[in-house]
Each structure stands twice: as structure tokens, then as C-alpha cells.
Subunit: 248 residues, 8 copies
């Protein structure tokens, strides 16, 4: 669909160096392969700046390994999320070059280093200690996507002076990821202190009327700070991903 490629292709037909049948074929063949269930899109690095990510939940270790094998042949960086310890160990046994991040529940394999370094710092903040696994998923994601990542944990709003102590660090970040459960107020307070985009991640931490993260989600969507956008509950990966794009 790229007009220049299209023009070149049509010109080869005009010049007879490509047959009409080959032209039809080329125009219709998109560059992905079928490995049974899950199609892997090798053009994704070109289009999106990052290889396919494997969502580990609901897949067993063998399924994950099969997909990883194909990706490694293609010389791609790999991020596998939502792995419990059992699956993670089985995968690391198969791929000794893989790094396992237990708090984040992720595995990474960095084939191509140094690609697309982010411009500034991605700062990942968590309200409570229970929000850290989600925060770490965001941090690992941003790291493998080529960003300098800093973290600031356990600075929830019921002790707002703790947060204010780190005000300079907040001001220096280029993108901020703020992870919070319970009342989900931290992104609003952080958003009011900085002049950069804040990606808010509600967590399912809490009980009673938390309703699995609905309470902080609604709080974040209703933030009185205008520089806050929200991703799905517990979606640390998504926050790290979009923060990386913003940081380019």
C-alpha cells in the first residue's frame, strides 16, 4: 500500500520484468506466515518499532516455547508477559539466553540491542507495595523497548509529603507511568505536579468496593488533571509500551 513500492511494482510490470500473475501474487501476499494457530507478523518491527509480544496467561510453557522458537529464528527481540514461576523456569531452561524478571512475571530476550533509544526518562511510580508487580511489568517493557527507566515505589497519596520529597525526580521525567489501586488518586496528584504526559494504570489491588480495580479506573478517568490518560486494569505492559512510543 506504500505508493512508492506500488509504483515500482507497476513499473516492473510495464517493463515486462514482472509478469501480471506475479504482480497479482505480490500485491496479495502480505508478509506474515502461518504457524498453525498464531500468525506472527515479521513486518511488525518495521511498522511498530517492536517485535510481537507473547501474552503468557492461558498458554502453557510448550506453546510459549514453540512461538518463541520461530521468533528467535527471525532475529527478533522477545517479551513474554504474565508468566508464573513454573512456566518461566521451563522457558528459561529452553532458552538460557532469556532473562526472567520474577516481580514483573516476564521473560525477555534481547537479540538486537540499542535499537530506538528513548529521548528521556520513563519514570514508573507505584502507590503501594502491592502495586509493584504491575509497575515492574511496565518498567521491564519500557526497558526492553530501549528507554532509560527509573522507579519510585510506595508513595501513595495518604502521605503526600513522601511524594513531594521526590518532586525534582518527577519534574525531570519525560513520561510518567503511575500505578495505583485503592482510590486511584496518585495519577491526579502527580499529573498536577508535572508538565509531561502521565499514563495511569489502575490495579486490582484492594478489597470490597474496589470491584477488581473498577474504583481506581473510574478515579483515573475522572482525573481533574488534564495530562492523564488511562490503560486497562493491571495492564503494566500496555503502559510501558505506549510510554515508550511517547518517549521516542
Amino acid at each position: 500500500m506504500d505508493p512508492r513500492k506500488l509504483e515500482a511494482l507497476l513499473r516492473s510490470i510495464q517493463q515486462g520484468t514482472l509478469s501480471v500473475e506475479e504482480g497479482v501474487q505480490k500485491l496479495r501476499t502480505l508478509p506474515f506466515e502461518d504457524i498453525g494457530e498464531a500468525m506472527i507478523d515479521h513486518h511488525r518491527p518495521l511498522r511498530k518499532g517492536f517485535p510481537e509480544v507473547i501474552f503468557g496467561e492461558g498458554k502453557d510453557a510448550q506453546q510459549v516455547i514453540r512461538i518463541m522458537e520461530r521468533m528467535i529464528e527471525a532475529q527478533e527481540n522477545i517479551l513474554v508477559t504474565r508468566l508464573d514461576e513454573g512456566k518461566a523456569k521451563a522457558i528459561v531452561r529452553r532458552f538460557p539466553q532469556a532473562s526472567y524478571h520474577p516481580r514483573a512475571g516476564t521473560i525477555t530476550i534481547q537479540v538486537n540491542e540499542g535499537e530506538a533509544a528513548g529521548k528521556g526518562i520513563v519514570l514508573v511510580i507505584s502507590a503501594g507495595t502491592s502495586d509493584i508487580p504491575v509497575a515492574e511489568e511496565a518498567a521491564v517493557t519500557a526497558q526492553i523497548m530501549g528507554n532509560r527507566v527509573e522507579t519510585l515505589y510506595d508513595v501513595g497519596v495518604s502521605g503526600v509529603h513522601r511524594l513531594l520529597n521526590y518532586r525534582e525526580q518527577l519534574m525531570e521525567a519525560n513520561v510518567l507511568i503511575v500505578v495505583a489501586g485503592m482510590e486511584g488518586a496518585l495519577p491526579s496528584v502527580v499529573g498536577g505536579l508535572v508538565a509531561r504526559p502521565v499514563i495511569a494504570v489502575p490495579t486490582s489491588v484492594g478489597y470490597g468496593t474496589s470491584f477488581g480495580g473498577l474504583a481506581p479506573l473510574l478515579a483515573m478517568l475522572n482525573s481533574c488533571a488534564s495530562n492523564v490518560a488511562v490503560v486497562n486494569i493491571d495492564n503494566g505492559f500496555g503502559a510501558g509500551y505506549i510510554a515508550s512510543l511517547i518517549n521516542r
Copy 2:
């Protein structure tokens, strides 16, 4: 049910100064009267420390006036809430001694002054300017119940330095009422700054996923500050009422 009164009553029967029939009658007659639809409980001041409150919504001016007339005979303080301007004016015409508080949408008549003065200051805080009507309803309620009331408006969490500027005022209050819509984060931040009870009032101010105040309500119920209790959405009256009891 008061055992001393009961003892006295039984003793009169024993002594023959009260007939059995009168005794049965007395034991069964509770001190309230029926004025048709709405029963007014004159013992309420004794039991509860405050006269009956008239919820003005859904009643027309004439209905409100009829109830007020009976109350005034009984020499009671009166608070009428949820009045629009039209009804309020009709009522004030009838009772020139009444005070109309337009921002709060309430009318008060103070028959017995000085009763039951609160021990400390009730501080009413609002996050935004749109939360002020609810905050004023709370303030007027606390005032007529005999409290010193201070207000601090428009100090929402997206500019947390504004709030911190008033930290001393926060620390000096005995009870705090915090009124907020949108993400409802203010009670958590205030709760973390003070060592006194905070009554949180969610407001229906906001749009989209505020869902008529559900978002701040959930945030307040999930507050990470442990000194926060919550009343119903927009229930400024209830907040002022319970804050007054706490302040006694």
C-alpha cells in the same frame, strides 16, 4: 423504656395513684403526634440533640409551610434543605424570621440559640467550585447545630500545593468535611495530613464515567487513609449532621 421512669410509673400503680388502665395507656402512648401524613417526633431534640429536618425536595412550598407551622409552635429549631429559589421565597414570605442560604439551597429558623456548642472547629473543604453547593449545605447544617464552621474551597488535588498552603488550618480543625466530585481524591490527601476524623462527601459533579458521583464514591470508600468515612452522594446535610455529633 427508661427504667427509672418505668419504676416510678409502676410505683404509682402499686400505690393506687394510677389505675391499671391508665398505666397500660401511658406505657403504650409514645410522645409523637399525627398530623396526617408526616409524624413529627417532639422528643427528637431530647433523643437526638436536634429537631426534625425537612427534606424539601419533592414537597411543594405549602407542604413545607404546614410542617413548619407545627414545629414553630413546639419552639424547635428548623432546617429545611433542598429548596429551589421559588419555594424558598414563598417560605420566607410566610416566616420572616427565617434565613435563606441560597448557595446551600436551605432555610433555617433558629429558635433556641446557643444550644450544644461543639468543642472545636468543623472545617468544610471542597475540591472544585462546582462542589460548593453541597459544601454549603454541610456548612449551614453544622452551623445551626451549634458549631464554629470554617470553609476552604477550590483546593483540588491537581494543584496539591494549594492545599498544603492551608496545612495549619487543616491541623487545627476538630472534624473535617471534604466534598469532592470527579476522581474524589481529596479526602485521601486531607486524611493523610490530619489526625482527626474526615467525613467524605462525593458529589455528582463531573461527566462521562463519573456516573452521577459513583466514581468519587468508590474512590472515597477505597481511601488509603484510614480516618475517612463516607456519606451518600451530594449528602451535604448528612455530613454536617454527623460532623456535629462528632464535634460534641
Copy 3:
């Protein structure tokens, strides 16, 4: 931020007993330490009247013990909530001075006795027997915060005469905590009988349309008694905490 401390600090600089650099440093150093994940705020007793509370759910026994060790050095009272029997036993083995309250699922260590005794009685009421664990969490919390605590269990509204039998006890309490699942009506009935603040705690006890405690929560927020404020579902700790502050 305390103006008198600030004045003293500035005066030392004026008098040359403190260098400018030290002044900047002092003004920026807030008194909390970082022990890795969870920051412990030793100033909390000064600011809030009570030491840090450890929410045991989601932490393993070793994590709880590590945090407790640091706190004990700082000579602080400790309350650990939401502990199952296994964790509790491991903790008590490590700290023989700890008291385990099995019905409440809490552990307490009282280092400084007698602090900040409450003025009156905190009365904890439960509607059904299944609400007792939450009620006990509230009672233990109020107790370690220096209050005289009484309890009154299994007096739900479907047998309102049971409750009325205890009317005097109700009238004598300074603050009331009312714990109820199912239809959550008990706080409204109790609230109508007393002239003191009622903290209502909905529980997730019930089935079908209880929706994990949503039914009693809504009932309590919509209470026709004006002296009722509500905390989160099953949040016995929060109720005990705010009741203690009210009772001071």
C-alpha cells in the same frame, strides 16, 4: 512546614549556627527511611496518633516479619490485619510478645501502653454471627488505639426486640460501630435510637444479590438516619480507626 520549627531553623541560619547548605538539606529531608519496598513513616505517631498498620493480605509471613522488625526497633505499637492462621503462627513464633486474635485475624504488639485513652465507650455491634470476624477486627483496632470497647453481637433487625433490650447500652456508648451484611439495615435502626455518631461497616456476608457486600453498602449509604457514615466493605480496621479518633 510547622511554622515554629521553620522559624527556629531560619533563626539558626541567621545566627550562623547552621550553614545554608545544612538548612537546604534539613528542609528537604523528611523523616522516613527506605527499607526497600515499603517506606515506614516514623513520624506517623506524632502526626496521626498511631503507628503504621500492616495490611497482611497478599504479604507472606517473612515480608510481614521484616517490616515488624524495623518497627519494633523504633519502639512502636504494631497492628497487623488480615492474617490467616498459618501466617499468624509463624509471626508469633518470631515475636513471642505478640498477641494473636484469631476471630479478628489480627496480631498486635503493644509497646507503649496507655497512650491517648478515648473519652468514652466504643460499642461494636454485629447483625449476624457471620459478621463477627469483621466486628472483631474493628474491636481489636479500637482497643489497641486506647479505647474501652464493648461488643454486642447477633442483634439483627429481623428480631428488633433483641436489639431494643440493649437500648441502655446503646445510649451509653460514645461512638458506635455497626457491622452488617445481608440487607444492611442495622445501622439505620441503631442510628435512630442514639444521638451519637454511627460508623457502618457493610460485610460481604450473604449470597445472590448481596453482590459481595454491595447490597448492605448501598443500604447504609442511603440510611434515613443522619448520624451514619460508611466505610468500605469488610473494613473493620478502618471503622475501628476512625471511631478511635472520634472518641478522643
Copy 4:
């Protein structure tokens, strides 16, 4: 489908007094007529003990009148619900024999008096004055269905002694209809005081988290009294209807 009628019909065919074609016709012709949009089922009195009811909401006065005209020809009792004053007056002008009940928003025409008198008293109780229109709809419905009806209004649970004053009246009723908005606790308290069935009607009276009557509905469904069953929000008619059947 009545086997005796069926037998008689088949016997007429056997005996030749009815042709097969007439038999097919009779078996397939059910006794209702088509008057365009709304089919009126004249057999309803036989089957159900009461004539068709007209739900007035969403129909204009002329539509209601057209349906009533057909019913009156058929000598049926008529109940029209959910009428505002305008529609009601137009209908009464057309049918001077109709009775208009303004608080209930209903019109009744009693053609056949005295039918199917209920065995005992249907007692209609309301928690607040704002619940009265729904309570009246229930009372009028039970009345025209041949019951002795008593009412007891404004006895909500925040003043439970008011209700207890009427305990004898409660005990004497055969069926109780309890109408309540806000926290919806009244049916549970009443249900605990009597040994007869209680039909609970939640009303949309309330604000904030009442959510249009959801709060009292959930409370009533979760009642700890086992003799409570619930009808739809504001459904006074339905409550009066089923109470009448219970009372037969």
C-alpha cells in the same frame, strides 16, 4: 384445555350434534377479541379472578378511553394505573361513574361489587411520606379486588419506636405490603415482627446511590427475614394484586 369441557365437546361430535369442522373451529377459537392493537381477554376474570388492568403510562387519554369502552360493555371491573391529573380528568369526564384516586394516580370503575372478598386485612405500610403514592396504588388495587385495606404511613426504621407502637395492628393483618425507598430496611423489621407474608415494594424515592430504587431493592432481596418477597421498583399495583390473591 379443560378436560371436562373437552370431553363434552368430543361427545357432541361423537353424537353428531357438532360437526367436525365446528369442532376444529371451537377448539381453536380462544375467547379473546382483537380491537386493533390491544387484545382484551374476557376470560381473564374466570382464569385470574380479576379483569384486565390498563397501564396508563405511555397511553394518551383517548387510547385509555377506547379500551375502557370495550371493557364496560363486557361488564367488567376496571383499574387504570399511572395516570397524571390531565389524563385522569379527561377519563372521568367520559365515564362519570369512575372514581379518581389522585394520590395513587389511578381510576377505578366498580361494576360488579362484592366479588371474592378477601379473608383478612391487607395492611399497607410506608416508610416515608414520599413513598405514599406507591403505597396508595397498592391500597387502591387491593381495595377494588375485594379486600379490607388498612394503611400505616411514615413509620420508617430510623424511628423504630413509632412502628412498634402499632405492633398490634401489624399482628392482626393477614398480608402486609411494605413500601420503602432509601435503605429499604422496613420490610425486614416488619417481617421480623409478624408471622404472615410480607410483600416488599422498593421505591425510586431517594438520591445519590439510591440508583432509582436499586438500593432498597437489593436490601429487600437480601432481607434477613424469611417471610419477605419482593416486586419491582414502584410497582404498587403488583403488590396489591398478589396480596389480594394471598388474602383469598
Copy 5:
């Protein structure tokens, strides 16, 4: 509170056969005992026509047995609901006279037979086979409360001709309990076929948008048949209980 008892009591005081102190005592002593956690109300049979019911869920076998022991001394009929097989067997070992109803998950002990027999038949209908446990809980409850009970299972609305086959049986019942999950339509269809009260019980059977029984609950509350009232999701006991009262 019974006026005749009250009169007698006062007369004894007048006549000197009862001292004032004894009178105060008698008036204040309500007839229940405290066995620790759960108060048992022995007057319940008088007031309510049926002994205390033990809700087995969340209680272990020993707790249930302790409560039952006290009840048996008082010569009361007993119904224990929501028992899994393990608990049930332990209880039956202790009380060989107990009957265990495995499909209903209940245990009954009938001490006083023949009491308060219902006037007609209570017919329990279920839509699907998965609704049977709830239906059986209703049936056992109605049975021990002295009613003739019939059951009709697996007659859901997607095969409405099956139901119609039993039309006579439907018509002969005095009260009908209709248990249904999924779309919850069966009570509306049954309600349209009979002229007697229908108690509808939604079940949590279903998946996806059943939302744990919310779908059939809403359907039943919105029934276009006016002789339908609803109890809580899966509340077979409550349905059997109120049906028994209606049948008296």
C-alpha cells in the same frame, strides 16, 4: 407488649402480688437466651409459626451441632440448610433422628409433627435440571412447615407445550414456587396460567451474561404477570418459607 399480658402484670403489682422491682425485671426480660455467639429465640414458634432455621454455609459441623443441641432441648423442629455432604454426615452421626436431603443440601428434625398444616398444595416447579437443588431446598422447607408439596421439574419455556401438559396440576395448586435460571421466563408464563400467588426464585445457573443470576432476577422483577413476587437468587428456603405462610 401484648396488652392483655401487660394488664395482668400491672394488676398483680396493683394487688401487691408482684413487687415493683420484679415488674421492672419482668417487663425488661425478653425470652431469649445467650449461648455465646448466636442467640436463640424460643418465642419464635409462637410469633412466627416455625422454629429457628440454621443457615449452614460458613459454619462448621461442630458449630451447627452445638446450636442444634440447645434447640433439641427446647423441643423444637429444626431445619439446617446449605450443608455439603461432609458436614451433613457428621451431623447425622450426632443426631440419628435427623433426615438428610442430599439434593436439597438440608437436614431436618421433626420433633412436633402435624403442626399448622397448610390448606392447599404447594407446587414447586423448576425450569431446568440444574435448578433442582434450589427447588428441592424450597420443597423440603415447605414440607417440614406442614404442607402437602408437589414438584414438577424440567419444564422450561423453550418447550412450552411440556408445561401446558401439566396445566391442571398448575391450576390445582394453592401456591406455586417457580425456580429458574437462564432467562428466568418461567414464572411469567406460569403466572399467566394460574390465579394464585407465584413465588419466583432466580438461580445462579447459567453462564456469560447470567451474571450469577442477575439476568433471571431482573426478568422476574419485570414480569408482565402481576401475581409474581421474587426472593433472592438461589433462595429456595425463603421461597418455601413464605409459600408456607401463604398456604396457612
Copy 6:
């Protein structure tokens, strides 16, 4: 993307009858035009079998007329839905050839008659009289899309014998559209009687826990009849549209 068209196009380039630039242009020009806000897709009839439909709600008469003018030039059939009487009259004044269907709130202009006649009958059924506007919207839609349409109104499940009377008509339909509010049970009953696809349309008719049509929607999604699929609340147009496709 049609491979034959693509082949022809490439062949023209190969043969030099089309320049490369023209080829690029042709491949990228999709056949729709921009008339400002709303793009009209003239290829829609080819792709979808029916012209663009104008959703009238939220557009004023002039906006609708402007879009219609462009469509009429293109010789297309037109359906405008959700029109109140005022808008409808203004539109009919401008296009005298338009037919206005007041009960359905739609306008149709049939330019090309007789296209794509459906194979069988589309039968539109409504439960109550208040559901008729939605049912009519479905009927008009199916009619202008070339189907024979029959209607059967006011046959709700509380009088299931009415429905059964029309059983033959139900059996003869090729597709059935069943429109119902309240408990939304009719599609399940109809679905059990026929062996053809049933498109269920929940309506927002009802009150209380209907929650604007949520109750019948959930009932329909949980239907125990497997031949039922559902469209959005009040979406008569969508039901008529997909029924037409099924009927081809």
C-alpha cells in the same frame, strides 16, 4: 482487491494502455465522495445489497434533506429512521414522493422497486402494545428491503394461549423478529415453537428494574432456546436489516 479486476488492470499496464501513474491512482481511488461531514458510499448497494440508511436522531430536518438530495441523484432507495413528526413533515414537504410511517418514525423513498425479494415471510411479533413502535421500525425496514412482512402484536407470555393460537403463522415464517420489553421472555417461547432463526429485540419499555431495557436484553442473551440472536435495545432497524439478509 477483486483479483480479476486487479489482473485486468495490471494487464492494461503491461500492454501500455494504462500509465503507471494512472494505475497507482486507480488502485488508490475508492469509489466514495466527500460531501463535507458525511461520506456516502455509492458502492454500498453492490457490496451490501442495500443503500445507505440515515439515522435521523440528532440530525435536524435540513441536514437529513441535504444528505437525501445527494442520494436521490444517485438513484438509490432511502430509509430514514428515528424521525419525530416535525422533522418528518418537513422532509415530506421537500420530497413528495417520500412515504412517512408514523408509528415506526421512519420515512422511505423507493426508487428501485422489486430488488432482491426475500424467499419467505419475515414475521414481526411484539409482546405488548408499547413495543409496537420498535416492531414497526423493524417491519418497515424489512419491507423496503424487499420482503413480505407479517405482524403479530400484543401476544406477551403472561397469556401464552394467545400466542399459541397463532402457532401455524409462526411455523410458516422464514425469519422471526420478536420485540419485547419487561421480562423479555417472548423470544424464548417463540424460539421453542419454531425451527427458524429468531432475531430478538429488547425494548426500553418498562420501569424500575427494567433499567432502560437491560432486563429484557439479559433475558434474551440467556435464552434457553438456541435459535435466538439479539440486537441492541430498541434497534428495530437492525433487526429488520439482518432478518432481510437471512431471508435472501
Copy 7:
């Protein structure tokens, strides 16, 4: 109720070849049998075009086997859904002629082959690999109901070019079943590309605000493509069933 059968029956009575009693009996005996809990309707194939389906969830292997045994005697095709591997193996041991489809969690026994072949292709599309079990349930259902079935998996909307690659296949299908979790957008995109009916199946795949499939369900109900109708969350069977009826 079939008038011709009815006529024949009545004629036999008229002619004396059938007694009245037999007539009553025949008219009232519907052709299903009672095998205890679950009634099996052998007329279903005639009425509905397909034998009874056994919903395996909540039934143990023996219950399923008992029902299957009766069905096999009646020479009917059988589909058992929602079977885990353990149950499935037990069933296959009993019925060696049964086919087990592990990804779909279903078992089929095809007694009568070739019946009622569908006219065109039923194309089953899934958005992600996790949606495949639901998609397979739909595919197996459509297959045993006599349709040619094609599948197209893992073509979600975040890579819309993948889907477009299969555009021809989409255009050739007669009915499309589109299975999607997460944002549930695929049916809208597919619906916009084809001119045939699309049956959308939301899945409970996803996390956070997926709310067990509510998110894709709402998206599908609000589809801007008018040729989309929706079945319950995870209801692959229902989608395959109605698609089969459409394809006849």
C-alpha cells in the same frame, strides 16, 4: 394442535373408531417421556431440525451417559458440549462410536448422516488464539447440523491487513460467525466487508475491564454494522446452531 391431525382425530371420534376417552387421552398426551430428571423430547427433530443437545457443564459423566443411552435408542444425532477431558474420556469409553473434539470440548455421535445440508458455507472467524475453543464449539455444532464449515483464526483488528487478505473468503461465505474477546471489534469490521448475516460471539477472554466478556458484548450490541446479531458470552454452540438454521 396441527389442524389436519386434529381434523383426522375428530373424524375418527365421529366415525366411532376412536372412543371419547381415547380422544381426550390422545389430545393430552404429548410425545415426550420422563426419565426422571430430564425429559427428552423425541419430537424435537421434527419441530426443530435437530436432536436434543446435552449441556455437559454441571453434569457428571454418568448423568450424561444415562441421557445419551436413551437418545441412542431413539436413533438420534447427539451433541454434548462443555466437557472437560476427564468426562469426555469416560463417555467415549462407553460409546466408542462417539467423536471427541478436544479444542471445542464437545462430543458428537452422528447416527443419521447427510440430513438437511446447508446451502452455503458457514465461516467461523476468531480474533485471537484464546478465542479458538469457543470458535471450535461453534464449528463442531454447525458441522454436525449438516453444514460445510470453514475457519479463519487469529485475524484480530489490530492487524486489519491480515483480515483483508482473506476478503474473498469472507465474501463467499453464506453466514459468518465471528468470535472475539477484548474490545470485540472484529464483528463490526467483518460486518462492514460482507453482505451476509454475521453472528457475533463475545468471549470471556481478557482481563481487567473485560468484566468476563461484558466489554466485547457491549461492543457487539453497539456495532455500527447493521448485519450483526449477538449471542451470549462464550456461547459457541448457540452461534453454530442459529447459523445452521440461517444456512438452510
Copy 8:
């Protein structure tokens, strides 16, 4: 809190050029003024890169004008959102230099031009014509914050080829704002086509199960494209604001 300013201040005290009292005062005076209800923070441009925004909803024209007058003195750029035509005209009469954007419902006054130009293009995309007001609010916001803004309207997913026609324009944008109601699928499709951040805005456009924008909100939060973050329903301003920060 800026350490250099702090150092300078302390140094003046050390050097005696500032008294201790003045120091305390300066440290405590934050640079905002109180103009009654709404505090205006003049430091906001420094901190946040943009002046205060006035949310016009719920304020009358005079209130807006009063706030604007103070801002204009301070030489700040102004954005007023959510204005209906009446208010807008009154404001423009008072400030002839103001620009009114009727489709967006906003007024802007650009005092300081050329500030902080964005690096790339902000592309605002809407799914339907009814989403345009929200899209325009986003576009006007991004424009006054110094960005080049392009718009692409009416390219919803049911005609995905329309969108693909603009693929180059999508690829060239630095930040994309995607506004959609109904099924909210557009951000997922756009997100899959580009390698830049996508800010998704759900709108309340739709009916039935749209639930005021809840359906598209959930779809966007559950997007299978990882470069999508979400703001509140109808929050065009917030989307424009955060997109501007990303674009810097």
C-alpha cells in the same frame, strides 16, 4: 521547593538582607491569588506549559467573563470549553478579540502566539459524524497549545476501506486522537496501523446498551492494540491536552 531559589533565600537570611519573619512569609506564600470562589494559578504556565482552562458547563456567562477578565490582565492564553451558543455570544460581545468555535463549543483568546510549537502533526480522527463535536474540542485544544492539527472524520470501522485510503496520512502523524461512540472499535484498528501513541476518546453517542458511552469506553480499555490510552467519555479537551504534551 526549587532548591536554587531556596538556597538564595536562605543566603539572604544568612546575610541579613532578609528578616526571619519575611523568610517564613516568603516560604509560605505560594504564587496564587484568591478571587473569591475560584483560585487562579498564574504559575501554571511555567509549571504546565499552558494557562488555566475554564470549564464552561455549569457556569453562567457572567461567571466565565469575571474569570476571563482576571486572566487577560495576566496576559495569558485562554481556552473556554463546553459553551452553548447563548453563553458564547455573550462572552464574545465582551471580548471582541475572542474566537468562537461553534462545532467544538469552545472560545479561545490567543494572547501569546507561537509558544511551544509541537514537533509533529496531531491527527484527530472521528468514527461518525455525531462524534465531531468532541473531535473538534480536541482539535481546538491542540491548536491553541501550538500544534499543527489535521482532522479525518467519518471513517468508522464498518467501512474499513475508507480508513485505509488515508493510511499515509495516519502514518505521518506524530500523535493520533481517535474519537468514537457505538462499539468504539476505531482506536484499535488505527492503533494497529501506526507506530505512534493513540489517545482514544469514547463518546456518549449511541443508544440502548451504549449506556452513555460505557460500551466504547470498555472497548477502548480492552484494545488489542498496545499503543492506545484512554481519556474520559466525551473528554475532547483532555485528549487534545495530553496529545499536545506528547507532541512537544
